[in-house]
Amino acid sequence: MIVAEQKTLEEIKALVGNARKVLVVGCGTCVTVCFAGGAREAAIVAAELRMASKLEGNPKEVSDVTVQRQCEWEYLDQIAEQVGQVDVVLSLGCGVGVQAIAEHFPNTWVVPGLNTKFMGLPLEQGVWAERCAACGDCILGLTGGICPIARCSKSLLNGPCGGSVDGHCEVNAEIPCAWQLIYDRLKSLGKLEVLMDIQPPKNWQKARDGGPRKIVREDLRLGSGE
């Protein structure tokens, strides 16, 4: 899932600025399950903004609504009327959600309430860790299902580096060394020979370095496709 974290109320207040009517839009997918921007969080942020603005002597009208996914036009259509009635939309979606709202409602001022952090998973309730860097050319088949791009601080393809100490990364002792994890896992699976192949430099053009990415699936497109 996409993992995000709420901005501070101070930051949100600054982004909302002098707008009097505010719509807080939650998203029912990734940011709901990471407790950053779901229906409950949208209601909490809306209450915070109402209370803070009232205490400051300039009460705002703040309401909240949550759509199943902010990143699909169909779901955004459902809130078009509410969006049209406010001065600003505070999106509690990930960066995709904020941009989808901006793109779908060209006349609406939209600001982000979250900082989108990474693609990852919950290790336990309240703790999330990064697992995928969307490099565009998955190599998990070479590394026993542990990603050195996302989990090695240097994204090394032939690790570990000299900074691996007792299974931890030199960047931060709390980060497990991805290459130690890969070695341990391949060893336990009896597949250490996989590491005998030296990996050539990765084609980073398939990642962000090649510019914004786009996928076109002709088999799924409708009509003439024009």
């Binding site: 109320l9 209601a43 909490i44 209450a47 915070e48 803070a52 009232k54 205490l55 002597g57 009460p59």
Partner: protein, 142 residues
């Protein structure tokens, strides 16, 4: 009692709610400004509900759970404490005093302590005064 205060006490059914019941049976006196909300466990405390209570004008919110180590659901009271601390931080960010929310731990036999906890909370809130959100006019400035 000098001024009219509104306290909300979210009480676990296994300890504080039973203690309040016992306080009643024992005819113990405690401030009448408290409204008790039954929870199946203090761990069921919902941050949004407590926040909305304060938005709607409650002056203080008490959360009362079992003694540490005695939770019927093992750790609900410890989880509740984390949530109370989160709510306190949130109140400060909003501009309200963190002391408007407080966690207490009791057992079901502690009727006198329940009455004392309500008195303590009432004194704490009386020092802060009524919730300023009650006084601020609803209308926007001209």
């Amino acid at each position: 009692m000098s001024e009219d205060l509104r306290l909300i006490a979210f009480c676990c059914q296994y300890c504080a709610y039973a203690a309040a019941d016992l306080a009643g049976a024992l005819r113990l006196q405690y401030p009448p400004d408290v409204r008790i909300v039954l929870l199946p466990c203090s761990g069921r405390l919902d941050l949004l509900t407590a926040l909305l209570a304060l938005e709607e004008g409650a002056d203080g919110v008490m959360v009362v759970g079992c003694m540490p180590g005695d939770c019927h659901f093992l750790e609900g009271n410890l989880n509740a404490r984390r949530r109370v601390e989160a709510l306190q931080k949130l109140l400060q960010a909003i501009g309200l005093e963190a002391e408007r929310v407080r966690m207490f731990n009791l057992s079901s036999a502690m009727a006198a302590e329940f009455a004392e906890a309500v008195r303590t909370m009432r004194e704490q809130i009386a020092k802060l005064g009524p919730n300023p959100l009650r006084k601020v006019p609803q209308e926007s400035e001209p």
